[in-house]
Structures are given as structure tokens and as C-alpha cells.
Amino acid sequence: MKKTAIFGALTIAGLAAGAAAAGTLDDVKARGKLNCGVTTGLVGFAAPDANGKWEGFDVAVCRAVAAAVLGDGDAVEFVPTTGKTRFTALASGEIDVLARNTTWTFSRDVDLKFNFIGVNYYDGQGFMVPKALGVSSAKDLDGATVCIQTGTTTELNLADFFRTNNINYEPVPIETNAEAQQQYLAGACDVYTTDASGLAATRATFETPGDHILLPEIISKEPLGPLVRHGDDEWGDVVAWTLYALIAAEELGVTSANVAEIGTSTNNPEIKRLLGTEGTLGEMMGVDADWAAKAIAVGGNYGEIFAKNIGEETPIGLARGLNAQWTNGGLIYAPPFR
């Protein structure tokens, strides 16, 4: 009799522990801080600056979400994750959102039970080689030693690419971008492969970036985006629509400079709805009416964030390319705010 009671209590405790995982939005509000998973350091996407303040393209998404939910873009706890630890960190609830240039794939979305809430950078896997090697195409890499970040989709793409082209290579699995950089520069591998944006970012930190070239082949589709746990759709909506708000803001011409007054001065109803001066979009989602305005005020709209962190004016020097607004022939597109 007593035993049954104990087991019953245990079962209830177990179920309670399971149920506590739901309601991330309320958890974040109660905590007053957003836990955001980022890389361990990839300049332009997420890296601490000289003062230890996290900055970058992915970091901007975290700050925008924090601003939308908590009204403060600095109310973020950045949790550095490696390619290996990131999914466990998200699944276990250690972080609320993972913004770590993570590729959207079927198995991650379906089998690992995550929800990719959109794409903030359309990327593809590329190769970087020293100019002195005299290689002009990835198909000339037969027999090369390739540095690769372990636990990423690039590992599988690489195996597929070399197999399809019937050439051989020797993989050197490496845990972080910093180690890969060191190995590559020491000549312990001939080639470094990862997402083309990551290669550009890494090359920008070299002493002589001009001595290294990116090969023309892009061997995969790598749609990178933030992701949340499966099954908490309210929270997923908040993160997704914050990203869309940044994208829509660029399309509608809302910038960090004019966000404070354009909501009242404009006649465009969509801008009014976006910024909360008209309609009840924020209320529907369980956040303040001016959530989008706060999110945009932190780092600007999508275009501003891109230009500031990884754009052509920065050392990383990425062109908008596929990541231009759909109105400019790119793939960046936000559903209507209605």
C-alpha cells in the first residue's frame, strides 16, 4: 500500500518535470532574461567584442527577441555552444532559442523535434584554400586533407561531394572554428570547408586574407536560421515573427533611425500594424503592442543588421546575393503583418 503511494508520487513528480518544459514565453518573462545559444565565436555572426559584449548577425536576432519580449535588447544571456552541444542545450531547456548559423534540415526539424522558425541567411558550403596551392576548382582536390567542423551538416555534404565526384580526401575533424583556423594556417590541412559565409568571416581575421581564396563551387544548400523546441508554438511564433518584423521593416523602410516616429507619422497601415500604433498584433501574441518597434530599435532592420555585421563595408564583406529582399531579386521575404 505504502509502496504504491511512493510509486504514484514518483510518477507524478516525473510527469510534472516533463510538463514544466512548456510555456517558454512565460518562463522568459518570469526570468527577465532570454537564454540564447550562439557559436563559441565566429566574427560577424556571434563573437564578443573588445569589451566582452556579444555582437554579430545571429546575436542581433537574440537581442531583437529579447527586446520584443522583455523590452530590453541587453536582457540576453549568451550561451556559447559548439556544433556538438547546441542541440542538447536547446532540447534540455538550457537555452530558449538557438541562433547559431544552424542549417535547417529535415531530420533536425522532424526527428530531433525542433522548429526552425525561418531563415535569416541563405548559405551554401564552400572551400577555402591557400592561393599558393594553385587549385581553382574543388574537383581538383583529389587526395587533399580537409579540415572540417565536426557535428555539422558540412561533414555529410563533404562526404557526398567527394563520393559523387569519385575523388578521395582525408578528413581532419575539428571541434571549433578557432582550432580549424589554427590547423589550416599551420598547413595541417590543405583545405578548410564550412559554410561560405563562415569561410569569409574566418578569412577576414587572417593576417593576410589575400593569400587565401574561396573556390567557386558551392556544394550544398545551407539555409541558416534560428530554432526553438518543438511543441511550444506560442514561443515559436514570438521568435518567428520577431525575425519577420526585422525583415518586413527593411521592406517597408522602417529603420532604427525612424522607428520612433514613423509609427505615428506614416499613412501606411501595414507599418502602423507592425509598430503597434494600430491593431492588436502584439496582444494576440502575448507581448506588448510596440514589440516590433522595440525589436527594430535595438539593431535596426534586417538590412541594417546585415550591413553592420557581415555586409560589404565590413571586413567580412559578404554581398547580399540570395539574402536580398524579394523585391530586389533575393529570397528574404516576410509574410504580411495582418
Partner: protein, 412 residues
Amino acid sequence: MTTLTDPPKGAFRPSMLLYDSRYRSLTLQAIAAIVLACCFLYLYSNLAANLRAAGLNISYDFLGNPAGYDINQTLIDYTSQSTNWRAAVVGILNTLLVAFLACVTATVFGVLAGVLRLSPNWLVRKLMAFYVEIFRNIPVLIWIIIIFTIMTAVLPAPSAFRGENASSSMLFDAVAMTNRGVYVPGPYFTRGFGAEGNGALNWLLVIAVLVGSLIATRMVTASADAKQAETGVRPKTLWLNLGIWFVPVIVVLFALGLTWDYPALQGFNFQGGLKIGGPLIALWFALSIYTGAFIAENVRAGIQAVSKGQTEAAAALGLRPRRIMGLVVLPQALRVIIPPLISQYLNITKNSSLAIAVGYADITATLGGITLNQTGRAIECVLLLMLFYLVISLLISAFMNVYNNAMKLKER
């Protein structure tokens, strides 16, 4: 006349469980066991509930799916289309390889350093003390990374061997030391069995011949011992033994057509020959030299546990120092040395899981790293990993315990 009867047995009463010292310990043990079982049950139900809440389940089906990634050091055939299970086996073999190599060299380093630490020579003694203190007081992960970093920074890249006036050249035109690994000539057979006369059967044959030689030399030694016991004169067996060791194996190797495949620079890397990868060397060396420092202390303790009178008695009989060490001190010291040595071997095997730091594809890197990541089956992979290390560690200690029982003082 009195009849002998048993003293009256008190009927068992439940209160005796608490107040009778015969039963109390049983009660306490039973309570402890129930509490422990409840703890595990709680952990399990928590896990099961959380997994159910997340919509996940425990399944090992992924082991049969193609792994999809490549591995840089494979002792068996493996391609990216092989299964996750095969990738795990590749990792297991790599773990066993580095653990075996490191156990052997750590023992050599440890015995040398331990004996030399007791040397009458001040400089040698202090140098060995320095070695022991430096290596065992810095974590092994740091040593692995230091050695690997030094290797990649100091040794030349393969491209340095290229061209007319290359900045590096191969040792004896046979060994190339690069920052990706050391390339040495690899043996292969031209007239052997199997595919292209180069099957695994050939090596089994060579090993069989060596085992035969071992048995034969043992028999020679036994007969020499018998002769010595009988006549007092020990027949010379050195040349006979050398002959038994070398002649058959050389004949077999010649018959199979042993040839050497020299490494040569081709394209980006050296091709041909045997490649001992940089990660393997760094891990092997770091584990050996780190654990060697601990073994040195075990050896020193073992030697010092043998009473000084033994050494003095042997010296009084006219034995030279090396023979005293080999015949009198070490055999007795082994009894003290072996039990802690088992722990050191277990440490080497478990510490080899730090391989991922230098990109060595051991079981933690394949099954517990890439497979875990690509399939997301963390719990399943970690459970398998735990099982593997547990089985290997238990096997090593079982094996070493057999050796310990053979060595220990026979008490009758």
C-alpha cells in the same frame, strides 16, 4: 537421566528486525536497497516522462543506417556509406589501438623512470623526479593539446617536401615526418595468400610462426634448466635461441615475398607506405608519458618496499647491480607494483576518450561524437559508450588480475 534438548527457539517477531542485532543489519541493508531502487526508478521515470513529453523515444535503429561521414583512420574497410554500427566498430578498434600502444610505452617509460629515480647518480635521480612531477601534475588533456600543437607547428607540411630545392627531405628516403603524420615504408606480400597475394592470412601465418618460435625457445630454456640441475653446467643457448627466433620467420617472409612500399609525395599528400597520423602520435605519446609518470611512482614504491637486506644479501653473494635488480628486487617488487598498474592501464583506456581534442577517431569521436550529432540519439549513444568502456575496463582488470595472481606470493 536428562534428555538433551535444543534451547527453546523464540518465535520470530517483527520487532526483532529493529531490536535484535542479528536482524538489524539486514533491515538496514534492505531499506538502503529499496531507497536506491527508488532513486533509480525516479530517474528512469523522469527520463521516460521527459522523453515522452518531447515526443522522443529510445531506439537503436539508427545503428543500421548509413553513417554518411568519413573517418581518417580506419583499421577495417569503411566508407561513408557504411552503417553507424560499423563506424562505431572503427572507433572501438582505434580506441583499442591507442590504448594498447600507450599501455606498452607507458610501462616502458614508467619502469625506466621508476628505477632511475632510485639511481645513485644525483643528476639522473633529479632528472627523473623532475619528469615525474612535471608530467603527473599537469592534466593529460593539456599534454595532448601541447604535443599536438607542437607537432603541427614544428614539423613541415607535405608541400615543404616538393620541388627541386625543397626545404625538407625524407629521412633515408623512406620516412617522411610531416605535420599531418609520419609516413613510413609499409610491408606487403607479393607471393602470399588472399587477394593480390596480400590477405590478412599472411600476417596470421607470420604470427603463428613467431608463436611457434616462442614455444620452441621456452622448451630450449627448460631443457637447459634441467641440464643445469643435473650436471651443474648450463649449456650455451644464446645462438640456438637466436636461430629459432630469426631463421623460420625470415624464411616465411621470404617465401611470401615481403616487399616494402615506400611513401612518395603525390598531389597534396604522401601516398603509399604506412601513415601514422599526427593525432594518433600526439595522443599515444601524451598518454604514455603522462601515465608513465604515475607508473614510475608505482615502480619506485614497489622497489622501496623490498627490504634493503635483500639487496645487500644479493650483493654479498657477488651479484652485480643489474642482476640484483633483475633477479632479486624486481620480481618481489612486482607484487606491489601490479595492482596499482591495473588502475593505470584502466586510466589510459578511459583517458583515450580525450582523443576528440586532436581529431583522433576513437569510439567517443565516432559513436559519441559524429553519430550522436548527426542522428541526435544522445541517450542511446551515451549508453552504448558507457557499456563499451565498462566492458573494456572489466576485461583489462580481469586479465591483469590473472597476471597478478600468477605473480603474487604463493601462500599455502
